[in-house]
Amino acid sequence: MNGPGLLTLLVLCPAVGLAVILAIPGRFPKAIKVASALTGLATLLVTGLIYAKFDPAAAGKQLLEQVPWIPAVGIEWHNGVDGISLPLLVLTAIVFFTGVLVMWELKERVKEYFAFMTLLVTGVFGVFVSLDLFFFLFYYELAVLPMYLLIAVWGSTRKEYGAMKLTLYLLAGTALVVPAALAVYWAAGLNTFDLVRLGTVHYGHTFQIVVYPFLFVGFGILAGMWPLHTWSPVGHVAAPTAVSMLHAGVLMKLGAYGILRVAMPLLPEGAHYWMLATAILATVNIVYGAFVALSQTDLKFVIGFSSVSHMGIVLLGLSTMSQDGINGAVFQMFSHGIMTALFFAAVGYIYDRYHTRDMTRLGGLSKYVPVASAFFIVAALCGAGVPGFASFWAELLVFLGTLKTFPVLAWIVVLALVVTMAYSMRAIVVGFFGAPHEELHHPADISLFLSLPRAILVAVLLVLGFYPRLMLDIIDPATRALIGVLK
């Protein structure tokens, strides 16, 4: 048994940051922002240390920490990372740090805002490092709940409605997940919430078939699974910039991660039984999301539905239960997280300055705010699957995996790329090209400081787009191990 180490430190980082933010009086907003940025930097550093200590060649969980917590019911403080969770830790740290920088101009209730944001991030880190089912679910809820306040207080369009819808959907997901998790706990009869030990038990075939859909749908709601996705675009639109970034960039990944970490390894027979159904749902996600995005005029709605479409690719990759598919899905979780964070950061700037996100009322922005527009265009190209950006490889791997398992679905999904291209081009050409509208008052271009977070995101996308092995070499061994469990 190892004592607490780096992973505990990682979870503590935002928690300590939260305490510091709460201790600073609200009349010093600058100090609060600096404290948040330092928290972000600290999480980045600790993630870097974890990355440095992580051995990609070893397949299993690493940097393990195991301390008994409530022995009577078998709850332990049990943490570890593998090639699936490490990229997501990196993702969270990057999106958190850049998210803090993006919100540098916030004026309203600064203290509460950053407090809730760090609380949310604490939960996210907790989910990604936890190997104990109890703590997994605990952190899962911790990450979901601050969302309501963040959207309802600091949001914009129909914020109360969006916040309430999001919260209700996510709680509905929890209502499916928690009973199923408890059912697994009792069925195992080991008096432990340890995911590793729960994974060694062979559950009855019928049990797996019955329980798996609960877990898949429950987690799937958070991942934006059709037809339970409608909370997500509405929530994105309502949320303030950095919350959209965290929400689409990280929070939606929690759902997919739950499927990958809890549902599939614990109930592999259930996963096999339902794989065609889940793959079809995922395909609907991809195609449907793309088609809806084609008709939207609010840039945030376009991004929201493109997220639905792209998360469909993650779900499809998972449903193939093949190595390529899952590699691609994990990679897509990472690259979509970065990409969509960039999207929202870019639109956030435009909304801040122009007070509208309606692309038909914008137009010609590239002429007046070239750099700010370039960030959006880069994100849109990445979303359209242009090579040179990370998403291309992720999607390619998913298609490859799908072609092996479900050839027909692979054809449909690849053909849908035309629609993806169409809505991306539409957003670029209508919103950023063309003649500028007369009535728009054009602000100055984005400042160097505000470009920094966006430039970081672009750099990450480009680096991985040029050399995908940087990430795939980490993911691949973990996936290989997972595939071994699934067979």
Partner: protein, 634 residues
């Protein structure tokens, strides 16, 4: 790592580096930006020349690569460079034309606010195109294939603040994406069946039969990409619209190199395609129809760049026909000469456009076109080459194409191909006479004039240096049209050494027929447009229905608007309606139901203490009765 591999890497790395430098650091310093880009392409050009000199052995491909993407059930996908005569020759063509266009652009684009950005994009294109040419892996090729598409999008939409280029850029990217989807599926099928996509391995597998690997299907899917990229068949309409980009861009991307990528791909994978004869037959017919159709469109267009665009489509079809007929050397030879003379034509048309501030040939004619010496030389030399007049380059390559077709297909196809050559001469010289022998500009027909692309108000300051920057590349290319024709033997020995080769000066019966048709075409053009007192109205233009049909891309765009685009948008709106009405309605309904249920239940909570007491006592009484009935507690 050997010297050749190093050279190949340097040829790619230099433009990439230049692109990054320009777009990140040099956006405010146009002269430095242009200098950087030109220096980078000079490096690429030198490296490519070195490669052509070093890699001379036909039918050998040396591949050096490194693992890029791990894939299940195989060693993973390795990326690298392939060095064989085809790749290095194409690399030289690309580097040379890019360099010429860059030098020309320093004059043409002078004073444009986006000057530095323009050179950044050109360098991006140079990198992507060289990467495409030298790619050793089909997936890698696909990557660069998409990247040249990206460069094309950015360059067509370079003047993004005007509606037309923005729309044209979107159309180009979308239409090529339709083809690329097929390409992607083809590559995926290949990887799935073989576990590798390295080009020599793929070609080896094409002749053997790996399980689950159907050559015709893969060939068909890959050809979809070719059709999109090389603007053939149903997917050609993006290319005429792409002329909204700056003229040097049209010269480089949309005639000489990028659109030839499709042809290059067919040449690259020729054994694979040859193993699917049915598909090749289909390609032959498609290319034939495209060649004739685009020639008819060129006959009625008045925008000089559109005429050249249609002729590019037509010539690309000829290259594909040669490849479909089985001769890589002929197709590739025509690609090379075409790259030279079509770039020349575009660049010299750019001189006129710059001078007259209009793309319309009748407008140009009214602005003393003969005063532009370099332009006149370029236009005439290029036209002679395009029409296929001996001894200009186009004659030899077209002759080789028709000769290759004569050996293998014959019959109707060959006859129609010869007819196409005659039409080419006709519309080419219609363009020459309309441009150079005009009397007065006819302004009343100005409605179908595309606005001069670059009217930025900087023409007064247009210096002699700028004129020189534009003239020299044109003159160099004009000289090349006289030289390139004699390289037929070079291509034949390196690319198709197994086929019989007759040498450049062989003038057989076919050549005489071709020359006669060309002469007839030119004569007709002279009669209708050139001679003094000519009506300056072509035979096709006199029939309104034909003029409208030919001038409107054979109504293909209208067809797409009325069908595919309309249906897609309708589907999209239906999906949106479903989302906002059905799905959201359902969830809002559940929420409303919960609220109403709560309202109903809350009526019980009326606040009257006595009501609560009454309920409590009734419950206790009921419990008491139940307990006495059942005999007490269990």
């Amino acid at each position: 790592m050997t010297g050749t591999v190093l050279a190949a890497l340097a040829a790619q790395a230099a433009p990439l580096l230049a692109c990054a430098l320009i777009l990140i650091f040099l956006r405010g310093r146009p002269r430095v930006a242009a200098g950087t880009a030109i220096a980078a392409l000079t490096v690429s050009f030198a490296a490519a020349a070195f490669l052509v000199w070093q890699v001379a052995v036909p039918n050998t491909a040396s591949v050096s690569q490194t693992l890029w993407l791990p894939v299940q059930g195989g060693a993973g996908l390795a990326f690298g460079v392939i060095l064989d005569p085809l790749a290095v020759t194409m690399a030289l063509v690309v580097a040379a034309i890019t360099l010429a266009v860059m030098v020309y652009s320093t004059g043409y684009m002078r004073g444009d606010p986006g000057f530095a950005r323009y050179f950044g994009f050109l360098a991006l294109f140079g990198w992507a195109m060289l990467g495409l040419v030298l790619a050793s892996n089909l997936l890698q090729l696909l990557v660069f294939w998409e990247l040249v598409g990206l460069a094309s999008f950015l360059l067509i939409g370079f003047w993004f603040e005007r509606e037309a280029p923005a729309a044209a850029a979107r159309k180009a990217f979308l239409m090529t994406r339709v083809g690329d989807v097929g390409f992607l599926l083809g590559v995926l099928l290949l990887i799935r069946a073989l576990g590798v996509a390295t080009i020599p391995d793929v070609l080896a597998a094409a002749t053997s039969s790996a399980p689950g690997f159907t050559v015709p299907l893969v060939a068909f899917l890959l050809l979809m990409g070719v059709v999109g990229k090389s603007a053939q068949g149903p997917l050609f309409t993006w290319l005429p619209d792409a002329m909204e980009g700056p003229t040097p861009v049209s010269a480089l991307l949309h005639s000489a190199t990028m659109v030839a990528a499709g042809v290059f791909l067919v040449a690259r994978l020729h054994p694979l395609f040859a193993a699917a004869p049915g598909v090749m037959q289909g390609l032959l017919w498609l290319a034939l129809v495209t060649a004739l159709a685009s020639a008819t469109m060129a006959m009625v267009a008045n925008d000089i760049k559109r005429v050249l665009a249609y002729s590019s489509i037509s010539q690309l079809s000829y290259m594909l026909m040669a490849l479909a007929a089985g001769s890589v050397a002929a197709g590739f030879f025509h690609l090379t000469t075409h790259a030279g003379f079509k770039a020349l034509l575009f660049l010299s048309s750019g001189i006129f456009i710059h001078h007259a501030h209009s793309n319309d040939m009748r407008e140009i004619a009214g602005h003393e076109p003969l005063s532009q010496k370099a332009g006149v030389i370029g236009l005439v030399a290029g036209s002679l080459a395009l029409a296929g007049v001996i001894p200009f380059a186009g004659y030899f390559s077209k002759e080789m194409v028709l000769g290759a077709m004569g050996e293998r297909v014959g019959g109707v196809v060959l006859a129609l191909a010869y007819l196409g050559a005659g039409l080419t001469a006709y519309y080419t010289f219609r363009m020459v006479f309309l441009t150079l022998r005009g009397q007065t500009p006819r302004r009343q027909e100005a409605r179908d004039i595309a606005p001069a692309a670059h009217v930025a108000g900087h023409e007064e300051h247009f210096s002699a240096a700028a004129h020189a920057a534009m003239a020299w590349p044109v003159l160099a290319l004009a000289a090349l049209t006289l030289v390139l024709g004699y390289l037929g033997g070079f291509f034949a020995t390196r690319l198709s050494p197994a086929l019989p080769h007759e040498g450049p000066f062989h003038v057989g019966g076919g050549a005489l027929v071709a020359l006669a048709l060309v002469a007839a075409g030119i004569a007709l053009a002279w009669y209708e447009f050139g001679r003094a007192g000519a009506l300056r109205l072509g035979f096709a233009e006199r029939v309104p229905a034909l003029k409208s049909f030919f001038g409107d891309n054979w109504y293909l765009d209208r067809l797409y608007k009325a069908t595919v685009i309309r249906w897609t948008l309708a589907l999209s709106r239906a999906a949106k309606w479903n989302d906002h009405t059905v799905l959201d309605g359902a969830s809002d309904g559940v929420a409303q139901g919960t609220v109403w249920g709560g309202r109903i239940l809350s009526m019980v909570q009326n606040g009257f203490v006595q009501a609560y007491v009454a309920v409590a006592i009734s419950v206790v009484a009921a419990l008491g009765i139940w307990l006495t009935r059942t005999g007490g507690l269990p």
